[in-house]
Symmetry: D3
Subunit: 132 residues, 6 copies
Amino acid sequence: MPTVKLIEYDEASPEVRAIYDDIRVTRKTDYINNFWKALANHPPTLARVWRDLKEVMAPGRLDPLTKEMIAIAVSATTGCAYCINSHTAAAKKLGMDNEMLGELMAVVAMFNTTNKLAEGYQVEPDVFPPLE
Amino acid sequence: MPTVKLIEYDEASPEVRAIYDDIRVTRKTDYINNFWKALANHPPTLARVWRDLKEVMAPGRLDPLTKEMIAIAVSATTGCAYCINSHTAAAKKLGMDNEMLGELMAVVAMFNTTNKLAEGYQVEPDVFPPLE
Amino acid sequence: MPTVKLIEYDEASPEVRAIYDDIRVTRKTDYINNFWKALANHPPTLARVWRDLKEVMAPGRLDPLTKEMIAIAVSATTGCAYCINSHTAAAKKLGMDNEMLGELMAVVAMFNTTNKLAEGYQVEPDVFPPLE
Amino acid sequence: MPTVKLIEYDEASPEVRAIYDDIRVTRKTDYINNFWKALANHPPTLARVWRDLKEVMAPGRLDPLTKEMIAIAVSATTGCAYCINSHTAAAKKLGMDNEMLGELMAVVAMFNTTNKLAEGYQVEPDVFPPLE
Amino acid sequence: MPTVKLIEYDEASPEVRAIYDDIRVTRKTDYINNFWKALANHPPTLARVWRDLKEVMAPGRLDPLTKEMIAIAVSATTGCAYCINSHTAAAKKLGMDNEMLGELMAVVAMFNTTNKLAEGYQVEPDVFPPLE
Amino acid sequence: MPTVKLIEYDEASPEVRAIYDDIRVTRKTDYINNFWKALANHPPTLARVWRDLKEVMAPGRLDPLTKEMIAIAVSATTGCAYCINSHTAAAKKLGMDNEMLGELMAVVAMFNTTNKLAEGYQVEPDVFPPLE
């Protein structure tokens, strides 16, 4: 159960409604995820996170589907149930099928394993030059 | 400092040498990462992890660069220094430049933030059908 | 579902009942949280954790509300649902309102992001003298 | 070793310099932390993180020292060495002494323990109403 | 709710059925855990994880109960509800009673605390020689 | 670099010296680990953690080597370098050899992988009765 009330559109302040409206227009759907309705309890956080998300998910060098799959990788690694659900649904909309998810999960599982082995043995980094 | 000795080729058993040879051929380099030299302390683990890695990183529905970037995302999220270094170097070899890494980091940072907000407020998952 | 039975007062051993009694007196409530009822399956752990908690939460240099908000920050970062719920309720009793929780969440989210960026780029610590 | 070059003021683009200037003015110091010099490899991320940080750390319902102590709590929980160092230094500047840090560490350690016990036994949340 | 359909025996491909059959024979039970039914969405991952698990859990230097208790320790530390449940049930079958689980939980809780204190103060490792 | 000074015996208060003395007698060594010298900055924490550790590591249903190996499993999973080093050294003293460490690491790596797969697919727990 959430620790705060979810703020519905009808009971939201004009400031929050404006953000909900922008979410709807940007995402081309009337649906407002529970995440935003929880953040609406603190409008400055709602405004900042939505603004950041729009910036980070805007077209760039990585395509939107890759970004959503990275979001799944992060969320599976931290174990955030809400996030795994919402990013899996979002990636599916962008074309991820069951086999791609399986391959993604295999990669995430593989590198969580090697991470623990590298830590567990305290292996020292190989020397590579920084990226330029 | 590693908690085990790194096993060099010359002191390795024939079983371990065969794996080192396969790593060299597969990766087209003579360099054996410290990670493998640490795992060589337990040959069944060395064999299993290398076999798994070859399977998981083989050509599939996700391209090799995407897989390496997911490896960076996982490693930045868990905070494994060894892993971040080696996967960043590997992704660079596959064509990741500084701007792509920046965009990747922005995505990783963004979703670690939203993960904590979703957890912190205990937001309940929106209802989506499972992937088929 | 818990992996152990919750031990109710009536079925508890005298040793466990004495701790439940102390929890009730200290917290000025008859309610015993599920957490303690689970720990009661291993009385030495119940005794140690309760004793430690009383010590750590006693009046000191940090006030009780700050301590509860730090507990929320820790629990949101590790993603422990039980803990987030109970510490949010406890902080609320001590005066935390919705806006303060929002500000706390914003701080937690912010530094989880910067943590991942610092790790992801493997930034080396700036040099500061130790605290004296 | 960082995976990117640290961008010094003299080699920075005008866009990055403007942010460095703002950091200097806001923080009343010429010193630019390594963190910002690493982020400068991706100017949009540098700009966004600095903007967010200023917003989140601005005077509000929680005082600046509490916010820095929460940053230490988050960073000790995730184990980010860079972050622990810089937030401990920042909190010290704001008046945290050794005893306060000790009390903070005790609280962080306590709740990481109870988090693992609550998870380990899969204790179900007590029922509390959401914050309003 | 899982993000994929659980694949039942009757609707499984021959490849997946062969693995389900091997799980049943190896574990001497008809019951197939939900975990395997989810992995069956990506047969190569199902095959790899099952093969690895059989190898890792085979008789060796550590006995099966110790291995299951380590699995509980890992799962309580990462907070994976599914895993805590299934490894606690498996350890119980192998003879773990309530008091042993309590002692295990106490150890897990203890070292999660000391981990955070060591990180929080950034204590430098004592110098020990590597294991040989 | 630690964020606090390490307190040496000669500069320690009588209260801290008494604990150092007890550590030396209990562990049958003059060596005081850096961990305790850091905790000595906050004597109540030093006293509590040492008292708890003695209780938790005392002879019980799990033998000391198993407890140290669980400590390694926890520390490899959280990635605490200090802790991995000290618990590996302690387990070695109690008889853990290189092959046992290899097997332990294999188990830790295996279950970190299955943890992420169970989370990544959001698999629902199989239904098991609680331990009694």
